[in-house]
């Protein structure tokens, strides 16, 4: 085991790192110059696309670096691709809307923090050593703590930022506590070494407890019950563009680590029961709470709690198929949410928080965006022929008959519960007459329609022809659990 640096495997990370450095230089420039076009941050999306292409090109390669703590494999490259695509959409979303609630001179800082968080997530996808995982997680989290309050003159944003950092600190503390237990029991932090070790509740209680505590940091990122309390408040307090990022990309980081843990600890993972119970509670409570929401971002916050529960289905299966289905669902979740946030951000050019009422009459003012909203909302329900349906089908099909049938039935019942609030958005957009007041939505820009339509077509395409995308996830799963 040695440093074994192979830069050719790190191209996606290096591209993002270069973008990060460029943004850092930009923050040092005189403020007047950053208010120009280059300072608007639109170019970051191109850099992310380049990183996505690099990640796509590197699929199929593998290697271990940095004394065995950093590993490039099918799973890491799949998630790097998804993170890069997500970053491209999220930064494009922010740049296109010109981050209305942010002073122009703060924009370079804003994008720098966004990119830094994504960089941390990219490192997270490849980390195979517990300490490295925590460091990558913190790189990603710290920049988010700073991002949330970046909303001009909104005390709610500061409140949200404090909530986020407090919850985050506690979660990290628990994670480190868990790390200590695992280290004490098994004397190693390398996943490869831990793979064969005992994590049974009765045979190795310390290690099992340590593993549960370690996972809590990621449950927190994923907003899984009971670590979900921050999600609706933070989405609510943060600006729309920031919420679009927080709702999507950090969850990928959590999923990738949980997938790795589930794969390494083996199919007979005893804490799977813990995951399943938390998943069931998470989807049920998330959906029930979402039913009562009027604010769209809070609604989506609770919806993300429910979706965190759905992802658990794939993790408890203990098969390569299950891990592949969970990874695929994470991708689908990202696309669905970024799409719906694209519509929310366009429907609120001033950057204020939207209520359901604000969607009224969208069909007549912005018919294309209303269609995009409908597609993403129905995808979140899991209605065919959208990607949300295929994602759920794969989750169910991979886990049925593996001892967690009850969890699938709970998930199916939850789909029924969740219809109402997702459909409600479509109802407001399509069946209510437009609001003629001052707050009424203006006709959207042509590109707002075109890009939204592109995302909606993406959701439908992944829903109808999921084969090639799923193949990537399947390869990742096969590598982890041959």
């Amino acid at each position: 085991v040695n440093l074994n640096l192979r830069p050719e495997l790190l191209v996606p990370e290096l591209i993002i790192l270069l973008a990060l450095l460029a943004l850092f230089v930009q923050t040092l420039l005189p403020r007047a110059r950053t208010a120009t076009a280059a300072g608007s941050g639109g170019w970051v999306a191109y850099a992310s696309v380049a990183a996505a292409i690099a990640a796509a090109a590197s699929i199929g390669q593998s290697g271990t670096m940095f004394y065995g703590s950093y590993q490039v494999d099918g799973l890491s490259q799949f998630f790097k691709l998804v993170v890069a695509v997500g970053l491209a959409i999220a930064t494009h979303n922010a740049a296109f809307g010109r981050t209305p609630e942010l002073a122009a001179e703060k924009r370079p800082d804003y994008y720098m923090l966004l990119v830094m968080s994504a960089f941390g997530l990219m490192l997270l996808t490849s980390s195979v050593e517990l300490m490295t995982i925590i460091i990558a997680l913190e790189i990603s989290s710290f920049s988010l703590y700073a991002l949330v309050p970046l909303r001009a003159e909104k005390p709610e944003a500061a409140e949200a930022g404090i909530k986020y950092v407090m919850f985050g600190a506690v979660a990290t503390a628990l994670t480190l506590f868990g790390l200590a237990y695992i280290l004490a029991e098994h004397h190693s932090t390398y996943l490869a070494v831990l793979a064969g070790r005992d994590f049974g509740f009765t045979s190795a209680p310390l290690a099992a407890l340590g593993l549960v505590l370690f996972a809590i940091g990621f449950f927190y990122k994923l907003a899984l019950f009971p670590f979900h309390f921050w999600a609706p408040d933070v989405y609510d307090g943060a600006s729309n563009e920031t919420a679009a990022f927080i709702a999507t990309l950090p969850k990928l980081g959590a999923v990738v680590v949980l997938v790795r843990l589930a794969a390494t600890m083996g199919p007979a993972l005893e804490i799977a029961t813990v995951l399943a119970v938390l998943g069931a509670l998470s989807m049920t409570l998330g959906n029930l709470m979402a039913l009562a929401q009027k604010d769209i971002k809070r609604l989506l916050g609770f919806s993300s709690v429910a979706h965190a529960g759905y992802i658990m289905i794939g993790l408890v299966a203990g098969t390569a198929e299950g891990l592949a289905a969970a990874s695929f669902y994470a991708l689908v979740y990202l696309v669905m949410n970024l799409t719906i946030f694209w519509v929310v951000c366009r429907a609120s050019p001033s950057g204020r928080n939207l209520e359901l009422d604000d969607l009224s009459g969208m069909y007549s003012r912005a018919p294309v965006l209303a269609f995009v909203l409908a597609v993403s909302a129905f995808a979140l329900v899991g209605l065919p022929p959208t990607a949300g349906f295929t994602g759920k089908l794969f989750l169910f099909a991979s886990t049925w008959g593996r001892g967690f049938d009850w969890l699938i039935i709970v998930a199916a019942v939850n789909t029924a519960i969740s219809i109402f609030y997702y459909l409600n958005m479509v109802r407001y957009a399509y069946t209510r007459e437009p609001d003629e007041g001052e707050q009424a939505m203006a006709r959207p820009h042509l590109w707002a329609n075109a890009f939204g339509l592109l995302l909606a077509v993406g959701i439908l395409a992944i829903g109808m022809l999921p084969g090639s995308v799923f193949e990537l996830a399947a390869m990742a799963g096969q590598q982890l659990l041959p």
Binding site: P384, K392, T415, A416, Y430, T431
Partner: protein
Amino acid sequence: MTEAGYPVLSSLIFFPLIMCLALAFMRHDGLVRVVTLFASLAQVLLALPLLAFDPALGFQFVEHAAWVPQWGLSYHLGVDGISLLMVLLTVGILPLCVLCSWTYIGKRVKEFHICLLLMTAACVGVFVALDFVLFYVFWEAMLVPMYLLIAVWGGPERRYASLKFFLYTLAGSTLLLVAIVAFFRAGGTFSIPELMAGSYSFRFQFWAFLAMALAFAIKVPMFPFHTWLPAAHVQAPAAGSVLLASVLLKMGTYGFLRFCLPLTPDASAYFAPLMIVMAIISILYGGFVALGQSDIKKLIAYSSVGHMGFAMLGIFVFNQRGIEGTLLVMLNHGIVTGALFMLIGLIYERSHSREIADNQGLGKFLPAYMAFWGLFALASFGFPGLNSFVGEAAVMIGAFQHSWLVGAFVVPGAMLGAAYMLRLSLKMAWASPASPAGKGWLDLNTREWVYLAPLAVLTVWLGVAPGMVLRTIDPAIERLLSDFEAKRQVVMIETAAEARPVPSILAAIGLDARNDGPSPATLRTKENAR
């Protein structure tokens, strides 16, 4: 199974979708109507090759292509005697729906027609899909356009009605997805013909049947899951009601025939008494409630509950006559009730009311209208010589073959049909007009003649010469029933073999009193005992 020369069924699914895309770029309302009308006629022409269907063979016009190979999903289509008529009905009703909304729909015309075309594509897909997941995709895909049809173009209570429709039907079918996944694990495939060849343990069938039956019973709709139907029917625009009555409701009974009987034969037999009781309640309840309605559309909606009860009854008596009757009721109810909803839409355009009191005494002023109404009303309650009589008579014969008790309960149901239909029709034809407004209303115009006449011809023709239809469906029903009986025996023998030591104990404690082979009831006891 035979392969098609060219993809007939795919063209029926994709042609409307392509036309939807084309419509999206049109701006003029009149153009949209004309284009949709021609598209729907072209759709009928595209369906003509289906008439070459050979009743003696199984699935025909089969198309098969890999879809998601990792999960064994395939794009697999085909029709047999059970689905063929439904496909033809779906395709045939579309141009009539376009015509009956010609003046009825005044706002968002383009979106309306897109929804109609989407509905047609999805409904054809439901009836021809031979892959379980593909079936589910079409089954759910149809909800959204139907929801929009009610929610956007419906009556004053449209928001409530459309939401209820959506929640009921989607909530019911979430467990269907779980059943599909469970079948995948049990049978190793999503292909319906392959799943049909397998046999499953009783315990598995028990739960799978319940999950599937919930989805299908809501769609039928069967008492006590019927409450969404009157709301949806009353609020939907005329064309929406026609699609609901003619096509959507049939998916429920189709589901029972296609999935429950072949896949879960034992559970079907086990639950048959319950289903028969629910069907009889549907018939009687639908009839009694219809008798008390003052809203014409609500009355016809409740009569649908009753008619679909007949269809359900025919399935669960498990004999040739009964299932023949079910398929005939499905077809004829589609024609007759569709026509009645068109007539209601037509009078609503004149009176702007669906109350009987506002639409009385029309015989004098709208003779052609009342003539059509009379024909379809007579057909609806099973007047001999018209189409519904054949189906209901077959169901009744099947019911009496099954047990005279069941038959005895159905007879008052048929009489109730006559009672509420005659009460309504007599008032509409001869009661004194509520207001002089009726005198100014115009009788049917050419467009209205054009969309009513084909249905009237079919009503009479299928009434006097049902043989053509019977020849198409009989072989398929025979196959269905022989498979059903064969598979029931297989599972019974297996279950009996598994549980061999138990019967002596049961006999000892007196549970297995009548030892004439393992009846479903004793099977369950054994199941519990294990």
